[in-house]
Amino acid sequence: MAVALPSTFALRREVPVRRQPPGPLVLLPSLVVAGMLLLPVVYLGVRAAGADEGIWRLLVHPRTARILLHTVLLAAAVTASAVAIALPLAWLTTRTDLPGARLWSTLTVLPLVVPSYVSGIIVATVFGPAGMVHHLLDRLGIAFRPEGFYGFPGAWVTLTLVTYPYVLLSARAGLRGMDPALEEAARTLGDGGWRAFRRITVPHLRPWVGAGAMLVALYVLSDFGAVSMMQFESFTTAIYLQYQASFNRHYAAVLSLVLVALASLVVLLEDRRGRGRFHRLRGTPRTSRPQRLGRWRWPALALCALVTLLGVLVPLGVIAYWLVVGMRQGMLLALTLRPAVHSLYASLLAAGTTVAAALPVAILSARHGGRLAAAISGLTYAGFALPGIVLALSLVFFAARYVPFVYQTLGLLVFAYTVHFLPQALGPLRAGLAQVSPSQEEAARTLGRSAFQVLRTVTVPLVRPGVVAAAALVFLTTMKELPATLLLSPTGFDTLATRIWSAATEGFFARAAAPALLLLALSSLSLWLLLAQERWREKG
């Protein structure tokens, strides 16, 4: 198998040959997962029902429409720019002879590990109206007045920088998993390079890019850290404001339901555009011959360097600066390892359970389809689009009232992470499954394997890149999760994220610097392991 065979084929399935109804092995766990995901929506229904008429009037208020428009525009803009940044990077780092491609492929994914509340503070410190860039240019005698920076532009830049790696990771996985024989076949049949790209590569990549882009859009809908730092009024800030200012849980619930509806719309849009219909028949594709960049490698390098500078070096630099300033003032940096251990432990558990919960849903939707599958996968996205505080309060409500013995346990916290981050696992798994032909599973079945054996010995190994990518994404986002951790963790269970928050909100940036650096270091390490593993697979 190690020898590359040119004889791999692709099978195009416009219409599925036949769709078997899902077996209990897939259906039952999927239904359980769906039940989990319904909890926040049910909670919001209960709370919204308690709303008086005045609240419904607020909902149709012009202001609500304005916030809705702002939020949608921001989500669209961030998604578009994330894709625009991620696609060239994905292609450059997987398909070309870009010098230092391996290094760039790690560096350009790194911004993913920066929490958006930290990123917001940093972007304001650097690019704000009186930020470092402004002072630098001032000294050079260049008049630079980024007056309109706060609001939309600031939120756009900040969120693009922390979310584009979702598309990048997804698109890279797609490009790596794609058999170059397809493009070559198109070329031998007379297609030019661009035409082959458009006819073969684009449709092949679409589900991967779509999955990543959807995560970006929903991340923007649910984000609080960046928009609040950038003084941008979005749906999430409006929801937080209700909790904070008037202790009014009813209006917040009504607003959250609008957000759920919006998320469902995003999911529907993505779904309508269709999934990939390419299956690879043989297990191992050849690695493609890298495209020669020639003189183009200079602009390519410049792009990689610029993205790395903005997404990685600037945050690192600012945090290190805080650390030095604080130490010079004689601040004691009490760096304990306990929060780091808590973060790692909870994130590992979250990655495991989330992938396990997402797998049956992914199989249901990729292999069997139908309305039920669409409904369940739609539900998963509702959990991701909800701001952390809303999700956390819904679980507070159910757990404290009905299952008090799990309330504020690590188990419930991991449960919350699972509900919140399921779509991050679902995307890569589904896209991975789309590349594996069901005929291999069917063959194993005819050879006498049980459904569970097939899942374990055929399906999971074949979608392994998807499984690893899913687990890694969930792990990295859990490391930086804040609102649910604050409300649902066992009392006294502090994580790196809560330590950073607790210092930074009170203006102790120097004290926030040490846990922030530790968070970035640990997350980067895990990311590096993931990418190293990706390469190992390619060689093996």
Binding site: Q231, R249, P461, L487, P490, T491, T505, F509, A510
Partner: protein
Amino acid sequence: MTGSCLPKVPKPVVLLVVVLPLLLAVLAPLGAQPVTVTVYSGRNQELVGPLLERFAEARGVRLRVRYGETAELAATIMEEGTNSPADVYFAQDAGALGALAYAGRLQRLPAALLQKVEPRFRSGEGMWVGVSGRARVVAYNTRRLSSRDLPASIRDFTDARWRGRMGWAPTNGSFQAHVTAMRLLWGNERTREWLLGMKANAPRAYRNNTAIVAALGAGEIDVGFVNHYYLFRFLQERGEGFPVRNYYFPGPDAGNLINVAGVGILDTARSSAAALRLVEYLLSSEAQRYFAAETFEYPLVAGVPAHPLLRPLAQLSTPRVDLNHLQALEETLRLMRETGVL
């Protein structure tokens, strides 16, 4: 062809690593535990963590503290209903305490404790008590302005000469409490005029007090409406050269509001006696001295002086506002929305 792709991990190891900790985590709280006091603290761990630890050590009470945002913890307590594990709620502002008292979630405190604090800094019904004071001030950039340039009343900031030079935090709880206080002092109409006048001067909207003080230091704005103590943290981290100072209005101006951070005992508290000991401790001179020295807040118990950098509480002329009414935020929010401030 498939098995070789996965590294072999023995099943027992998987079980041990994944399943066991989860089970333990769920079952652990079922085990026997000594009597503990659970605190929901809307006050920051960096600020009050050492104080609470000192209490636990000195009085031999086991403390479990959940840190979070003041309002979110209040919402959490309401969602928890009668199963709330919280015994004590430690809030950053009187409004949140008022909201919990209004929802019937707080217990009446003993009179002996309440009387340690002036009536203006505690609940009229005795449901909560303030433990430290926080003054609203105008912070200004000392490179752009001296205190002589600043007006006699917060109302004067509607003057056109302040256009584009101010920062505030309309989404922040302490600012909203301040607007509520204005409504109580001036009535809705004059508050509306003030908000509209301010808005005409296009103040920058920041997320919170910290962001305002940081922006003042960077020279992004010249004046900002904040709580008094944030400045001192910046001075601590950045040194005396940090170009920002606080300004108090002369006379009992609405701008000189003093809000409190305070505590209440939950109606569902399982160990009220131990919870009371914590409240007692927070009003002890040891704790009051801690607030003065470490958080730069005003001690509220007689006999403990404020930090030497602060103007003493007795010398501040504060407006007469009943803190019990600060939870009436709904009306304030409506006003802020109608004027386009929010």
